[in-house]
Amino acid sequence: MKADNVLVKNIRIIVALFILIAVVFVIIGASSEEPTRMWQIYLINFLLWTGIAQAGAVFSAILELTNAEWGHRMQQVAESQISFLPASLTLLLIMIVGAEYIFPWVSQVSIPEQKALYLNLPFLFSRSIIGLGLLTILSFVFVKKRRKADDQGGGRPRKLAVVLLLTYALVYTVVSFDFIMSLSPHWYSTIMGMHFFTACFYTGLSLIIIMAVFGRTHIFPTDFMTERDFHDIGKLTFGFSIFWMSLLWSQYLVIWYGNIPEETEYLHLRFYEQPWSALTWTFILLAFILPFLILLNRKGKTTQLVIGIVGFLILIGSFVHMYVLVAPSLSPHHAYFGVPEIFISLGFLGMFVLTQDIWLKARPVQ
């Protein structure tokens, strides 16, 4: 392991500072007159980083099941992302405090009695804590068994990988219904779950790429990935950019064509009203159009710097995407993005980097 860079050497101090500032902003925001503004960026970051963290284990499980020959070392990089999951559970518990300001159906919007059977705080939080908790346990057990099988041989945890993937699809569907769909209490879309877990996985891929490209110069052995590995993950990312877009498009087209009031409201806000439509086009550009065009070319997939930049584009695009999924439902008239938002987001980033750093120090990539 190399630590020749000032930034890398002092990474824990830097991220601790970020986290500290974020905590201050969270407390100030939560006790202000407009707590929704703070909780909204909190939720966005929670979903984004939890999704990325979970995607690490999912990526590893998929490679395990498909016997992919190329991903052995990439699996180890991906797995380091799950280190954020316990922290994410803690962050979920903190959200109980602000639940009243996050979910409009708690006090602001009245919902039918039947719907209240599903949308009520005790049930919502117990199912998300159980679901995400189960996923966290499964991820850790899977990664442990897989690493053991790698080091000492013996049985591969293939069955566990299947269980992990199925649980992932199910839990993330429920999470998307609870934390995104229910923010517009009258709106519904059957594709939401599939769209959400695909988006999370796609974002996770982008972080694996960023780690693989930029970690190589600082934390990992320099030769740990060959050009062919980059080509393969480039192809995978390319495929997922199309798949993710096709799901988004399926949702858009059906709602746009049907033009049924309770569905269209959601779409109209995001595609035809400012400032949201500008943000929507931003994430389409960053997370789909640019990566698509760059990765179409073989050189785009194999040149490390280029694919690394693509990773950043997707990550930023995914952040905007998550922002557009959540924010318009909570504050339809104004897109808040000021100093508090930036520092809270940086705090989440710091938290993620910190946990990953601890993990990688304990289990360096071989």
Partner: protein
């Protein structure tokens, strides 16, 4: 990591030609019996179609609320069957799955023949089949063009493109193998094979361009296959009919299509392998792999069923709720439960190693899945139409023997095309199998 061998372990390159060409030589009596059976299906179907053309659409059971009957069910069913062919030949090629070799040709043939059958049904459904050219985009006497905003028109483009591209892919993929046949036969058969081989010699330059072209075909076919069934699903989802208007329809239909297609591959592969003695080339491992694809797509389909029901309940839209209640417990409820058992519960058995390595059991499951997937389309189309928004316009639909006859005819047509293909063309991609065996034996790296 050691590479898994999917062929019989003692198979060598020299035997591939003989193995694949075996079926082309001496057909057994059973073969002619089968052919006669299929032709009788077609004749009955033709009689039914004749009746419908001369008597009018009234001979079919379609009525006012239920204007889309089993003709459209069959259309979606056959398009769905087609999809696994492109999946196995194109998508698995891009993913460098080694097991696709030696089953991809059969799957591609299935694609072409299934799309052919699918393409017939919208025309039959139109009633006045001689006006089928109205589907083409040209201005009519009043200078009106076709409506490009209509999903049905998208379907025309999608199906035509799919038919063309899968046929091209199929023919190009067969070119080197047709050269093998051209060189092994004499006289008129050699000439005919020669036409399809187009003078293929197998030079290093030809192989170089061929491999690039094949990769490009695969890269084009992959998004195509997803778009085609998405568009088929949008024939339904674009309307505002409860039970049809659902955002998940595109991925739901695509995975359902691959699911049914994989089932059909197993259904066809099992007798074909016995019939033509292809046990060395198509092994149990191929069946296991296809069944695993079936399991994956079955899970996605189940996920979609459950999501749809949950959202119908959650959405609190009275029409949606009623529509889904009717789907499960209404007049056609029995079909819904059959569909659920065949598509969602039975395939779960594939989780068990004993079942997924037992070809006979897989064969039985695959047939039931075919039935289940046909029922799925029936349930979606007919139950949603039978209970519209307005109770005054509710109705019941029962297919008549004419409709069943035409369906039977299409089954006969599909199987006849397939068996004739298996009789006259290489059912296994000879050059790819040779390449794979060669690389394994010489230790060269694959890819």
């Amino acid at each position: 990591m050691s590479k898994e061998n999917y062929f019989a372990p003692d198979l060598i390159v020299d035997q591939v030609n003989a193995q694949v060409l075996e079926p082309l030589k001496k057909p057994s009596k059973l073969f002619y019996v089968m052919i006669a059976l299929f032709i009788s299906f077609i004749l009955f179907g033709a009689y039914c179609l004749y009746t419908q053309i001369f008597e009018g659409l009234g001979v079919a059971g379609m009525n006012n609320p239920i204007a889309w009957g089993i003709y459209l069910t069959n259309f979606v069913f056959w398009v769905g069957i087609a999809h696994s062919g492109t999946l196995i030949s194109a998508i698995l090629f891009l993913f460098r799955s080694r097991w696709r070799t030696s089953v991809n040709r059969i799957a591609e043939a299935m694609t072409v023949f299934a799309v052919t059958m699918a393409g017939l049904f919208p025309l039959i459904h139109l009633g006045r089949i001689w006006f089928a050219y109205w589907l083409l985009p040209y201005p009519n006497a009043r200078h009106l063009w076709v409506n490009f905003r209509s999903p049905l028109n998208w379907d025309v483009f999608a199906v035509v493109t799919y038919m063309t591209v899968s046929t091209l892919f199929f023919i190009v993929g067969m070119m080197p193998d047709m050269a093998v046949l051209r060189d092994r036969f004499k006289g008129i058969r050699s000439k005919i094979y020669g036409v399809f081989a187009m003078g293929w010699r197998g030079t290093h330059r030809q192989w170089h361009h061929y491999e690039t072209a094949y990769l490009l075909f695969a890269a084009l076919a992959t998004p195509l296959v997803i778009s085609v069934h998405s568009i088929v699903s949008w024939d339904f989802a674009m309307s505002s009919l409860p039970g049809w208007h659902s955002t998940i329809f595109a991925p739901y239909f695509v995975s359902g299509a691959i699911f049914s297609g994989c089932a059909m591959v197993i259904t066809i592969l099992y007798p074909l392998r016995k019939f033509f003695h292809l046990e060395d080339l198509i092994t149990e491992k191929h069946f296991t792999r296809i069944s695993q694809m079936m399991l994956l797509t079955s899970l996605i389909v189940t996920y979609s069923y459950l999501t749809e029901f949950f959202i119908a309940w959650y959405g609190h839209n009275i029409f949606e709720q009623e529509s889904f209640y009717n789907r499960a417990f209404g007049y056609y409820g029995i079909y819904f439960f059959m569909m659920f058992v065949f598509n969602s519960i039975l395939p779960l058995g594939i989780f068990f190693k004993k079942i997924r390595t037992n070809i006979k059991v897989l064969f039985v499951i695959s047939i039931l899945v075919n039935v289940g997937m046909w029922l799925e389309r029936f349930v979606i189309i007919i139950t949603s139409l039978s209970r519209d928004y307005d109770p005054y316009a509710w109705g019941i639909y029962k297919p008549t023997y004419i409709e069943w006859g035409i369906f039977l005819g299409s089954v006969g047509g599909f199987l006849l095309l397939f068996f004739s293909f298996a009789k006259f063309a290489p059912v296994v991609a000879i050059s790819e199998v040779k390449g794979q065996i060669h690389h394994d034996k010489t230790g060269g790296d694959h890819e």
